[in-house]
Amino acid sequence: MIPKKILWIEDDALNELGELATAVYFELEYELDFALSATEGVRQLHKQTYDAVVVDVRLPPGDDPKWHSLHYEFGADDKTARLGLTLLRNVLGRDKGWTAKLPREARDPKLYGVLSIDPWDDIRGDLESVGVSIYRNKKEGTRVLLAIIEDILQQRNGNGDYV
């Protein structure tokens, strides 16, 4: 069986939240990639086609000056800048900005899920405006990453898109 490619865009993926990855490993069905910033996230999406992309809301900018200026514009605070939402808007919204050259596959809203500490009600409007409906809260437990990956895959499968 070919493992499915998963991208987790999360700055804390190699620290406290690292343990969330364990449950995914034991399934033996997934190949997990990490992106620790908005810059890295977009870079990975250019490089590779994924079966599911899990995005955090509070992302640091990374080394791309464009993300940097945006981060500063929003107060240089991951919490208020919410670069994860900006990333989704850029990839999925009308205004493509600097993600214009992304492959077509990466522009499917069903490919994405948001795993965040921000409550659903706070970000619902932003997510719905770009067609993303899958959300889970990080506080749900150690299997939450696996759960959101399965949610995304099931959604794509249910619509006959999943291969």
Binding site: N15, A23, Y25
Partner: protein, 712 residues
């Protein structure tokens, strides 16, 4: 007898200075009184010229011209100079002809009016007030220059005969003033609004006395007006600012308000200044005890000729509300008796309430922080106990700490587990033993070991979690092996290896937890000191800075050990400072804690922090704490952001470092209070290509400088 002889005969008898001068002014004759006035002897008379005595020489030419035109001069005021004295005279003068009808000279009579002239000069030109007299129809009959100028006229002549109403802003007010004068026969410093020639209004005081004839009919009045424009501006200002001004007279144990502004009345919840006047302030005092205390303070101030400043005092207002006011007052005394006071008060009720709330809040925060620290200490001890149990020995140094160390120790049991699982699965695949374990469980066993062995393909950060999870899965499956279906030796090695992996990864997890506690313990202590310390300040003493550094190192030894960071300090020398020991130790502890927290390894070597105590170029004693590791962006240093309370650096939270953003703010506050300074420097350890390249180590040096003991 010639005309000249007649003149000399008459002039000799007159009790006033008299003279005869020719056309050019040379004296032809001067009587005895004139010679005395100008200090001339009789023989010298013809040597002098009257023009030499004029204080203003051109004045004579003007007068000669006038006498030619008018044929005479009557009571002209002239100033002469004689010796070093100015003499004012009234001069009357006629041209005189001799018996043949020829011009003989000018005959003049002088009346000395020096004192009167001085009086008039002051009265007319220099008195900073308007002096006037009105007739029975209130028309101006006399006025000085001051009166004219106040109303915008060039001379008093311009206003003689004008009705008084011309000078009032409001004709009704003029009538009212007259009415008051008729009733009271005088008014004293009545506030009025007057009008200048150009229509501009100004505020003034009017003082006047009325005259009555022998039938008691009003015959007019005389008085003074004083400009109070500036005073009125002050008054208006005093109404606008939120400070109550007042004057109190102390009479028979009463403090009667004789003057105040609107704000003063507002503070006492009275509708207006008028309502406040003549009130006894003591009726508003909160308690007799507080009144007595205030009176005592006023007495002390009076005795030293000073004022009572910033005294907090409670009042009960006209609405019954209790307010706290700040009293500033200067006692007025008559001998040793206090006869009143002038002062200013401010309503500080909200300020005091806010201060009380902050104190209460500070206490609460202090209590919460204390509980946090207590809980953390307990947690740390519990972790140590669990570590001892896991390791099977007391006082175990919790190891392994790093992913590399853990990999090293876990490799043998992991290999044993793989071999044991393989053997067990092979054995139970046999039909005889197949009942020992479900097929799915057998597959899961293989999968768990597979994942555990695939760690090299993953990030080191995930190894520990994968191993501990894998070991737990293996042990859970082992519990499901049906008893008496397979020899115990077939699965026992599997359990032992999984347990060993569990212990090792468990110890590593505990190590991480202890490190996290140590990381947050010092910031919490610092925050506690910052919040509570301000109110419980210890006394300053002469201490060796090295002893403070040593104390800081000792308190952070555990944390440094958990982090694997060495501390290099040569405490042999002794630099004395005059400081509060606990504060300075805490300030150094904050710097050291940051240095340990943000240290990276230097190549293959274990990371270390170095501390040096020296005398710097400004002759201050300086502790420099230096480490290699996480950079601080220049912008954060230049803008002083790093010293802001609660500030968390842009790069400070990488690798999950915890912090409160209090440490540097606290250290800076301590250094400043003690007259010292705190500086931070962050520079690349190696040349960099791109300034944004923050993944290479930086050298960060924090320097706290304090004045040496001898200067303090």
């Amino acid at each position: 007898m010639t005309v000249r002889e007649q003149i000399e005969q008459i002039a000799g008898l007159l009790p006033v200075p008299v003279y005869l001068v020719d056309e050019g002014g040379r004296f032809l004759y001067a009587n005895d009184r004139l010679r005395r006035l100008f200090a001339m002897s009789q023989s010298e008379v013809s040597d002098y010229n009257i023009g030499d005595f004029y204080a203003d020489r051109p004045h004579r030419a003007a007068l000669v011209d006038k006498v030619r035109r008018q044929g005479e001069l009557i009571k002209e005021i002239v100033t002469f100079t004689s010796g070093d004295r100015n003499i004012q005279v009234q001069m009357s003068c006629n041209p005189v002809e001799n018996e043949r009808g020829e011009f003989l000279g000018y005959f003049g009579v002088l009346v000395e009016v020096t004192e009167e002239a001085q009086y008039h000069s002051v009265f007319d030109a220099h008195l900073p007030a308007g002096v006037y007299r009105l007739d029975n129809h209130d028309r101006v009959t006399q006025a000085n220059l001051g009166f004219a100028n106040l109303h915008g006229y060039a001379s008093a002549d311009d206003i003689i005969g004008r009705p008084a109403t011309d000078f009032y802003a409001d004709a009704n007010e003029a009538a009212k003033v007259t009415e008051e004068i008729l009733q009271q026969r005088e008014i004293n410093k009545r506030k009025v609004k007057l009008r200048r020639k150009n229509g501009q209004m100004f505020a003034a005081y009017v003082t006047a006395v009325a005259f009555f004839d022998r039938h008691d009919n009003y015959a007019g009045r005389a008085g003074v007006i004083e400009d109070r424009t500036v005073e009125e501006q002050y008054e208006r200002l005093s109404q606008d600012i939120p400070v109550g001004f007042y004057i109190v007279h102390a009479v028979d144990d009463k403090d009667l308000v004789v003057d105040c502004n609107e704000e003063f009345a507002r503070i006492f919840d009275l509708p207006s200044r008028a309502a406040m006047l003549r009130q006894d302030l003591r009726d508003f005092h909160f308690s007799p005890q507080e009144t007595a205390a205030l009176m005592e303070k006023l007495k002390e101030a009076a005795a030293r000729g000073g004022t009572v400043l910033g005294e907090h005092f409670r009042i009960r207002t006209a609405h019954g509300a209790v307010k706290t006011i700040e009293v500033n007052a200067r006692p007025q005394t008559d001998g040793e008796v206090i006869v009143g006071r002038t002062g200013a008060i401010r309503d500080i009720t909200e300020e005091v309430e806010m201060r009380d709330r902050i104190t209460a809040l500070t206490n609460d925060i202090g209590a919460v922080l204390h509980t946090f620290r207590h809980t953390l200490t307990q947690l740390k001890h519990n972790i140590s106990s669990v570590a001892d149990i896991l390791a099977g020995a007391p006082n175990t140094t919790v190891r392994p700490q790093t992913a590399d160390e853990l990999e090293e120790e876990i490799r043998p049991p992991l290999h044993e587990l793989s071999v044991a699982v393989d053997r067990f699965v092979t054995t139970t695949a046999n039909v005889t033993h197949a009942v020992a374990l479900e097929k799915k469980d057998r597959e899961d066993l293989l999968r768990a070991v597979g994942v555990m062995n695939a760690y090299r393909t993953r990030n080191k950060a995930h190894w520990r979690a994968t191993w501990i999870d894998g070991a737990a899965r293996v042990l859970a499956i082992c519990k499901r092996i049906r008893p008496n279906t397979v020899a115990r030796d077939a699965y026992r090695p599997m359990i032992l290896a999984a347990e060993r992996i569990g212990v090792l990864t468990g110890l590593a997890t505990l190590s991480i937890a202890r490190e996290a506690i140590a990381a947050v313990d010092t910031p919490l202590e610092s925050l506690y000191g910052f919040v509570i310390g301000r109110r419980n300040q210890e006394a300053k003493e002469v201490v060796s800075l090295e002893s403070c550094v040593t104390e800081a190192i000792n308190s952070l030894a555990d944390f440094a050990n958990e982090r694997g960071v060495g501390i290099r300090f040569d405490g042999e020398s002794r630099h004395e400072v005059y400081v509060r020991r606990v504060e300075v130790t805490r300030a150094i502890q904050n710097l050291l804690h940051n240095a340990i927290k943000y240290s990276w390894a230097r190549g293959e070597k274990r990371p270390w922090v170095s501390i040096i105590v020296t005398i710097n170029e400004r002759a201050m004693v300086e502790v420099a704490v230096e480490n290699w590791g996480v950079p601080i962006p220049q912008e954060e240093i230049q803008k002083g952001l790093v010293f802001r309370l609660g500030f968390r650096g842009r790069l400070s939270s990488d690798r999950g470092r915890l912090g409160t953003g209090v440490g540097l703010a606290d250290s800076l506050s301590v250094a400043k209070t003690l007259g010292g300074s705190l500086t931070i420097e962050s520079r690349p350890a190696a040349p960099m290509g791109n300034p944004r390249e923050y993944d290479k180590p930086f050298i960060t040096t924090a320097r706290i400088a304090l004045p040496p003991a001898r200067n303090s």
